[in-house]
Symmetry: C2
Subunit: 144 residues, 2 copies
Amino acid sequence: MAFSLTDKDKEGLNRALKGKGLRPTKQRTSVYEVILRKKDHPTADEVLLRVRRELPTISLATVYNCLETLVDCGLVRQVNFDRAPTRFCPNLTPHAHFKCTRTGEIFDLPMDPNTLEHLKTILPKGFLAENFDLSFVGSTNQLQ
Amino acid sequence: MAFSLTDKDKEGLNRALKGKGLRPTKQRTSVYEVILRKKDHPTADEVLLRVRRELPTISLATVYNCLETLVDCGLVRQVNFDRAPTRFCPNLTPHAHFKCTRTGEIFDLPMDPNTLEHLKTILPKGFLAENFDLSFVGSTNQLQ
DNA sequence: TTTATAATTAGAATAATTCTATTTTAATTG
DNA sequence: CAATTAAAATAGAATTATTCTAATTATAAA
């Protein structure tokens, strides 16, 4: 086997799935593995390629299903940029995204609790946010 | 004619286009009119329907072209929500978006300069943001 | 006016995502 | 530990969103 989830992550996945009455299948586990292993922001297509190294027969539809399930379970986040396919992100800590127009690279930008609180102040009374997606586009002038 | 741009808006459009060496065509003017007139967040399809009341023969490709041009000119912003077609927004003041999961309605949430400054603090040294897209998803419990 | 170039157009092509019908698998129960 | 049942996976078609292409039309400049 190429890689596998830590016991902690595996348990987290199983608990989250059970909490929703869903089954821990090898496809779901493998998609989650792939997402956790390389902390970038793959599209569904890229996830398919990576998962196929473990499960050569998995279909794109299943990848979409699994990703949707993981998002519903709160284990993965979706990231949107203008006119571009959805990307998926395993980082559950509060953060924003920055896409460099030069390189296409996407960076996670951590947000401290203070900033997060500040952000929430723009919500009017009666607006309850379940999640947010904050994306910057611009350029970076130094290597990260 | 059903409606038209104010002189100020028309002048702004023409100036912006000229600044980029682009021509003020009736299609571009009409798409801009439609976007300014109803301050919601239409998809390209919805823009097509509205513009066709003025220009019955305009094509979807042209609508996409015009919208892209307006975005490039900084007169219109794109708004992204998970797995949903791009929406277009005429509000150029700093603001975020909130999509209500109950009604599907999208609200503009103004951001004061202070909040905007605070947001920028999450950008590391060397990251220059050209624009940002902040979207909340959640529910509203009162009529706006 | 003519000319050169840009923009529009229709429709085809592509890309992203979802749906459908069938098969397989996991969990449950006798 | 079989048989059952319901969920999930699968292939591929369908749909939706967006882009591209090649031909036509319109704009601006000379």
